[in-house]
């Protein structure tokens, strides 16, 4: 046996052992998660059943992938790395220059593409569940990006400002009948007021401590919403929130309704399309304002604050005000998004503003690459669109059998995808930083030099 053949054999043995260990671990993990199932039978008794075939498929799949990685993919990647001197990955300028107008153009015609493709009733899902839902999170992601990505302040309670915006709209619209267009800026102002209010006590805190206090703040707002029943109606929430009108023309079947005014056949999709353009406009406003702010002294001060707070103070920058403006700006956009959310749903309850929402928005920002707006938008599409698309992945039944319900594995696959991305790109999808001003040419800055902030 030659030396190379022996080495190859030992590699295969090693890979097989590795895959075996992986299979054992995944068996241990998935036995309670997948292998066992509790079912309530006819007599209302809880019975434990097993799903061994499914468990075997899971374990075999994982062990197989592991074997593939150790035997094929990793050697291939190492060969490639040895061959080429790795340049830090950054998006070519031409890509970002073309991508943004193209993406905006696509978003503008998207409802009509979907109308043409699947008709009025079919496109409701595509415009509402995908379009509007994703755009809300793009907007929230961009808003939180100001606080976390630019200013480097870790905020785990961002959903509180979203809730403030939603309840501001819900309460003021149902009690005083104020219109959406008056309440939208008002909700933004109220939210940024709460942002400043949160900002003051946490100014001295950094890092983990800041994260804990913001987390607590988010919970305080939610618990107040739950318990202040007189005002917020507690868990029952606020129902029948007035829906936004098309600049005074309601979306209903009346003679003065939208459909009649524009001589169309009535369809609930009209309102959805209007809401879609509304949130598209709001999201683009957020993106545009953030882009502008980055190039203004305040934006540069945010980034400088993330890089080095002490150096900022030595240059005469009032770090207190700088942090407060970051909190206020981020909160304001969450307030806009919140009031839109209330107007779209027509019903809000504290259930919509739990910690998992904050976590989702934060993971969008982290996944996208802190500070990168395109990255955050792509991450929002992947995360929110991904979880929505998991709802109808019926082809998975071909692998896992007919009883397999993909929706139940949504979060599992979602978590798996996040782990993968964090291994592949630990600083997010777009980790490089675009300078806000340049003398001769705009060069992207590799993430190794950019700091993440101390909180």
């Amino acid at each position: 046996m030659t030396a190379s053949a022996r080495r190859e054999r030992s590699e295969v043995v090693h890979a097989l052992r590795d895959a075996g260990i992986t299979a054992l671990i995944s068996f241990g993990l998935f036995l309670p998660l997948v292998g066992l199932l509790t079912i309530t039978n006819m007599n209302n008794e809880l019975r434990l059943t097993t799903r061994l075939p499914l468990l075997v498929i899971f374990v075999a799949l994982i062990a197989g992938v592991r074997l593939l990685v150790t035997l094929v993919i990793r050697p291939w990647a190492e060969r490639r790395r040895a061959l080429s001197t790795r340049k830090p990955f950054s998006i070519p300028r031409s890509f970002s220059r073309w991508f943004v107008p193209f993406a905006i153009g696509f978003l503008v015609v998207y409802p009509f593409i979907s109308l043409a493709a699947v008709g009025y009733s079919g496109s409701l899902k595509w415009i509402d569940n995908f379009g509007i839902q994703i755009l809300i999170y793009v907007m929230l992601g961009w808003g939180l990006n100001i606080v976390v990505g630019l200013a480097g302040l870790l905020d785990l309670g961002y959903v509180a400002f979203y809730a403030v915006g939603a309840y501001s709209y819900g309460l003021l619209a149902s009690h005083f009948g104020l219109s959406f267009w008056i309440l939208l800026p008002l909700a933004g102002i109220l939210s940024s007021f709460w942002g400043i209010l949160l900002g003051f006590p946490v100014l001295r805190l950094r890092g983990d401590y800041l994260a804990i206090v913001t987390l607590a703040f988010g919970e305080i707002i939610r618990i107040v919403l739950v318990n202040w029943v007189d005002l917020t109606n507690g868990y029952a929430g606020i129902a029948a929130i007035p829906r936004p009108t098309f600049f005074g023309i309601p979306f209903n079947t009346d003679d003065n309704g939208f459909a009649a005014t524009f001589h169309l056949t009535f369809s609930p999709t009209h309102r959805t399309i209007f809401l879609y353009y509304l949130i598209l406009g709001l999201a683009l406003l957020t993106g545009y304002v953030t882009t502008r702010l980055r190039r203004l002294p305040v934006g540069r001060a945010w980034e400088a604050l993330r890089e080095d707070e002490i150096a900022c103070r030595s240059l005469g920058i009032n770090t207190t005000n700088t942090k407060l403006t970051a909190f206020a700006m981020g909160a304001m956009f969450a307030g806009f998004a919140g009031s839109f959310f209330a107007a779209r749903q027509g019903f809000i309850s504290p259930e919509s503003f739990t910690f998992i929402e904050s976590a989702t928005i934060l993971s969008i920002v982290v996944l996208g690459g802190m500070g990168s707006q395109i990255g955050v938008a792509i991450a929002a599409v992947a995360m929110i669109g991904g979880t929505e698309i998991m709802r109808d992945m019926d082809f998975l039944k071909a692998i896992f059998g007919d009883t397999f319900d993909p929706t139940q594995y949504r979060m599992l696959i979602f978590g798996f995808a996040m782990v993968l991305i964090m291994i592949w790109k630990p600083r997010g999808l777009i980790a490089s930083r675009e300078p806000s001003v340049f003398l001769k040419e705009r060069k992207t800055i590799s993430s190794e030099l950019v700091k993440e902030g101390h909180g």
Binding site: V289, R292, L293, L296, P297, V298, R300, A301, E303, A304, E307, D308, I310, A311, C312, R313, S314, L315, G316, I317, N318, T319, T325, R433, P435, S436, V437, F438, L439, K440, E441, R442, K443, I445, S446, L449, V450, K451
Partner: protein
């Protein structure tokens, strides 16, 4: 010694719990001079710096800085008694630095500083570093962000001027070609000089440098000397520096203050300090009366 006092440190004491880091130190820095603060490790030099630049609140003492006409000094006691932190009139202004937070010392009293361990914004470009330093005037020009977001044209002009000012500094440092590179990518010596240029972009009257020559080779130290002398000549900025590198200190300083164990042990021209037995004793680690003996031993 040229000019009159612009900075007066009087009976400065700084305690950290039971530790007295700086004990009753008084000295003056004169306008348009380069003054050095030297002393063995742990003598309290950086603590004095942090008190002057507002990063520490001194336990006791007064730190007064004056802009403009020296007649402003006459109202020093009046200002101290009034409880205010600054006083302006037609002839100049007077500031009590120990009453001001760090960012106001930089913003209002125009005292800029650098740090012993370089504190550049390493993930921002060289140019951006110099732009951040011009934050306050640009903030005003952008109407505290409001006008800037709305796109009022005045801001673009001011931003262009700020970029030009930064370009001027980059030309002086011979870093124009690296303007769009991240500051963290620069060689060490260039980072040191960039930090000085960034401090100068705040238009200071007093520039405080904490060990600017630390880690520089002989050639880079010589370049630093030239840069500091040029700053004084072209901008009239007064410089106060902490330094261990005696080639820098002795060559360019007009005035040296020596600290040891938090106490001032000598104060005067480089010539005077160089020959002061107390200073030699402090550096050699022996009592004053043994200096002659030790010097004889080591062959000085």
């Amino acid at each position: 010694m040229a000019g009159e006092a612009m900075l007066r440190v009087e009976h400065l004491t700084m305690r950290f719990g039971g530790l007295v880091a700086v004990n009753d130190v008084s000295f003056e820095v004169h306008r348009g001079t380069i003054a050095a603060l030297i002393g063995p490790n742990g003598a309290g030099k950086t603590t004095v710096f942090n008190c002057i630049t507002g990063f520490y609140k001194p336990s006791e003492g007064r730190i007064a800085l004056q802009h403009g006409d020296s007649s402003a000094w006459q109202s020093l006691d009046q200002l101290t008694d009034s409880g205010k932190r600054e006083r302006r009139d037609a002839n100049g202004a007077l500031f009590l630095l120990e009453r001001m937070p760090d960012y106001l010392v930089a913003q209002r009293a125009r005292v800029a500083r650098t740090f012993q361990n370089i504190r550049l914004f390493s993930g921002m470009t060289v140019l951006e570093n110099l732009m951040v330093a011009q934050h306050n005037p640009l903030m005003l020009a952008s109407g505290y962000t409001v006008l800037g977001v709305l796109g009022f044209p005045g801001y673009a002009v001011r931003e262009y001027e700020a970029v030009e000012k930064a370009r001027g500094w980059l030309e002086r440092l011979e870093l124009v070609d690296r303007a769009d590179d991240p500051a963290g990518d620069l060689p060490y010596g260039a980072q040191r000089r960039l930090e000085i240029a960034r401090a100068m972009c705040t238009d200071p009257v007093l520039l405080c440098l904490d060990e600017p020559a630390a880690g520089l080779n002989a050639h880079e130290s010589a370049e630093l000397n030239e840069l500091l002398l040029a700053i004084r000549k072209d901008f009239g900025t007064t410089i106060l520096l902490i330094e261990h590198d005696m080639s820098v200190v002795m060559e360019i300083s007009d005035h040296i203050v020596v600290l040891d164990y938090g106490v001032k042990i000598s104060d005067g021209t480089p010539e005077f300090v160089r020959n002061d037995p107390k200073v030699i004793g402090a550096y050699l680690g022996v009592e004053d009366d043994e200096v002659a003996e030790v010097e004889a031993e080591v062959g000085l």
